[in-house]
Amino acid sequence: MTAYRYADETTPPDPVQVSDVAIMRFEHIFEVDPKLMTDHLSQQEFPNWDTIRIVAARHSHLAWMHDHWTLKVLSAGELLDDITREDAGS
C-alpha cells in the first residue's frame, strides 16, 4: 500500500495540449482545456486518484457491457490483417 499524500494527489502532472480545446495530463485521459472553463463553469479540484478511478470505472463498465451482450468480441483488426495478407498473396 502506498501512503496517501494530499499535496501529491492535488498536484496533477503538467498538461500537454492535444488539440485546440483539449489537454492531456494522464496518458489517454483528455480534459477540456481549462481556459474554456472560466465564464460559466469552473473546473473542480480533482485528486489524481479520482480521475484515474473514473476512467478505470468507465473501462470496466464497457467490458461489462461486452460480456453482457456476447460470449466473445472479435477483433476487426485481425480480420483486416488477414484480408490484407490474403490480397497480397493472391
Partner: protein
C-alpha cells in the same frame, strides 16, 4: 377536460388507497415533482405546470384496472410512466391527475426454454432481464440507447427502436403479446391471434401494433410475452473513418446491402457530429482533421458467420475509402452505444466557453436516398437557431439503419440546450425549429419520428399532415375506446376527438 389537476380530490385519493393500499399511493410534493421530469430539455420555469396530483404504484394487473375504473368514475386523467426516459414527453402529465408508476410490475413470471419466450411484468428492465436470461444462454435483444433505464412497458408505449433491430427486429417484433388494460378498465390479451407465444397469425384484426406506440393514450400494458434468442456467440463492431461525407454515405449503403445474415445495424456520422466528437469525446479528440465522417457496423451471431460477414464488410469499407479506426475505439464506442446517458452534458457558447447543456434529439425515419438532403436542411435550421440564440448548440447528425435492406434510416440530430437559460422566447424558437425539422422529414417522404414518438410541441402540430386520413381514424378509435378522455389526455392532439362531438 382541460383543467390541470395538480390537486386531487380527497375522495379520489381515498378510493385509490382502498383499491391498492395506503403504502402505494403517494401524494407528497417530491414524489410528484420527480415524476413530472423526463430527460428531454424543457422550460424549467414551467415545471410546476406538469406535476401530477397523486402518484400510484400498483403491483398487479387487477390493481391497474381498478385505478383506471376509479379514474373513469371521477373523470380524472391517468398517465402511465415506466422508466421515464421517453424523449417525446409521453410520460409527462399535461393535465395533472393520477401518475401511474409501473415499476412495481417487475416480476419475471415464466421463462419457456423450449419455445424461447418469457413472460414478464411491464415494469421489468431489459438489462435486468438479460442478466437472468444470460444464465440460460438466452437474450432479449431489445436494445435502445437507454437500455439500462427504460422498461418493457415504456418500450410498448413508444413502440421502440433497437440499435440491433436490423438483425433481431424492434420492440414491435420482439413483444409477442401482452396483457392490456383498456381505458375502460377492461383487461384484454393482445398479440398475434389468441395464443400468447405466437409470432404469426391471420386470425381476426391485427391489433397488436395499435396498442403499441400510443404513448399511454389507449391504455396500459401490464405483462408481456417476449421473443428470446440465443445469446450471441460473437460480436464484431468495426468503425471506419472517411475523408468526406459522400464517401461514407456510399460506403454505408454498400455495407448494409452486403447480404450478411449477422448484420445487426450500421451508422453513419456526419462532419458536424465528428467535429462534436473531436471536441468532447475521448475516443475522437486525437483524430486528425482529415477524418470528416464515420461509419460503423455491428454484427452478432455464431462465430463463423460473424467472422465471414466481418471479412466481407472490412473489404468493402477498405475498398471504398474507409480507414479502420482500430479495435480499442471500435469495441469501446460500440459498447458505449447501449447507454447514451453517458453523453457529455455540456456544450459551448459562440466564444467556445463551456456551459452546462441538456441533450435533445430530433429523430425521423428517412429513406436512404433522401438522407443527404434532410441532413443538409436540418443543419441549415440549426444554423439559424444558433444564430438566434447561443443557448443552442449543433451536436451533429447520425443515421442508423432501420432494417437489414437499408431502405430507411433513423436520422437523428443531436442538439445541446442550455436549459437554465430557456425562457418563453427561447422555448418558442426551439418549438419553431422542431416544426421545421418535422416539415423537412415529411417533405422528403419520411416520418417525423423513427423511435421516440411525436407528441411534443412543434412536432405534434404536423402529425395530422403526416398521417392524413389515418389521423382521423386515430380520433375515431380514441373516442370509441376512451369516451371520457382519461388516458394521458392532451397528447397527440387527440383532444380533437372530443371537440368534434361537442
Amino acid at each position: 377536460m382541460s383543467t390541470v389537476l395538480t390537486e386531487i380530490d380527497p375522495e379520489v385519493a381515498e378510493a385509490l388507497r382502498a383499491a391498492i393500499g395506503d403504502a402505494h399511493v403517494i401524494a407528497d410534493r417530491a414524489a410528484r415533482f420527480h415524476r413530472a421530469r423526463v430527460p428531454a430539455p424543457f422550460p424549467v420555469h414551467r415545471w410546476a405546470e406538469h406535476v401530477p396530483g397523486i402518484v400510484v404504484l400498483p403491483g398487479t394487473t387487477a390493481e391497474v384496472a381498478a385505478i383506471v375504473v376509479i379514474a373513469n368514475r371521477f373523470g380524472v386523467p391517468v398517465v402511465p410512466r415506466s422508466g421515464g426516459t421517453g424523449l417525446t414527453d409521453g410520460a409527462v402529465p399535461l393535465r395533472g391527475g393520477i401518475l401511474l408508476d409501473l415499476k412495481r410490475l417487475d416480476e419475471i413470471h415464466e421463462i419457456d426454454l423450449e419455445n424461447r419466450t418469457c413472460r414478464v411484468g411491464a415494469g421489468v428492465n431489459m438489462l435486468k432481464l438479460n442478466e437472468v436470461l444470460g444464465k440460460h444462454g438466452l437474450i432479449y435483444p431489445d436494445d435502445p440507447a437507454s437500455y439500462p433505464c427504460s422498461l418493457v412497458g415504456g418500450r410498448i408505449g413508444t413502440s421502440g427502436w433497437s440499435l440491433i433491430g436490423s438483425r433481431y427486429g424492434h420492440t414491435r417484433d420482439l413483444v409477442l403479446s401482452f396483457t392490456h388494460v383498456l381505458p375502460s378498465g377492461q383487461v384484454i390479451q393482445v398479440g398475434d391471434g389468441g395464443g400468447a407465444k405466437l409470432s404469426k397469425s391471420s386470425s381476426g384484426y391485427s391489433l397488436k401494433q395499435l396498442f403499441m406506440g400510443h404513448q399511454g393514450t389507449l391504455g396500459v400494458a401490464t405483462e408481456a410475452t417476449l421473443k428470446l434468442y440465443d445469446k450471441p456467440e460473437a460480436e464484431l463492431s468495426p468503425f471506419w473513418a472517411f475523408e468526406s461525407y459522400e464517401e461514407a454515405y456510399r460506403a454505408v449503403g454498400l455495407i448494409v446491402r452486403a447480404n450478411c445474415a449477422t448484420f445487426a445495424g450500421a451508422v453513419i456520422f456526419d462532419p458536424e457530429k465528428v467535429a462534436y466528437l473531436r471536441r468532447d469525446d475521448e475516443a475522437y479528440i486525437p483524430q486528425p482533421e482529415s477524418v470528416r465522417a464515420l461509419v460503423c457496423a455491428a454484427l452478432y451471431g455464431n462465430e463463423e458467420e460473424v467472422e465471414a460477414g466481418g471479412r466481407r464488410l472490412m473489404r468493402i469499407a477498405r475498398d471504398h475509402g474507409g480507414t479502420y479506426l482500430g479495435d480499442e475505439i471500435s469495441q469501446g464506442d460500440w459498447a458505449a452505444r447501449h447507454d447514451r446517458y453517458a453523453t457529455p452534458l455540456h456544450g459551448r457558447t459562440r466564444a467556445g466557453q463551456v456551459v452546462p447543456m441538456g441533450w435533445h434529439c430530433e429523430d425521423a425515419s428517412i429513406n436512404y436516398t433522401a438522407v443527404p438532403a434532410v441532413r443538409k436542411e436540418w443543419h441549415e435550421i440549426m444554423a439559424r437557431l444558433c444564430r438566434a440564440s447561443e443557448i443552442f448548440d449543433d451536436w451533429g447528425i447520425f443515421a442508423y439503419t432501420n432494417g437489414p435492406t437499408g431502405a430507411d434510416y433513423l436520422v437523428e440530430i443531436d442538439v445541446g440546450i442550455w436549459e437554465q437559460e430557456l425562457d418563453d422566447e427561447a422555448w418558442q424558437l426551439w418549438v419553431n425549429a422542431k416544426r421545421e425539422f418535422s416539415a423537412v422529414a415529411i417533405a422528403h417522404g419520411g416520418s417525423i419520428s423513427a423511435c421516440h414518438g411525436s407528441c411534443r410541441e412543434g412536432e405534434v402540430d404536423l402529425v395530422p399532415t403526416e398521417l392524413g386520413g389515418v389521423f382521423d381514424v386515430m380520433l375515431t378509435i380514441k373516442r370509441a375506446l376512451d369516451p371520457g378522455n382519461i388516458m394521458n389526455p392532451g397528447k397527440y392532439l387527440l383532444d380533437r376527438a372530443y371537440e368534434e362531438v361537442e
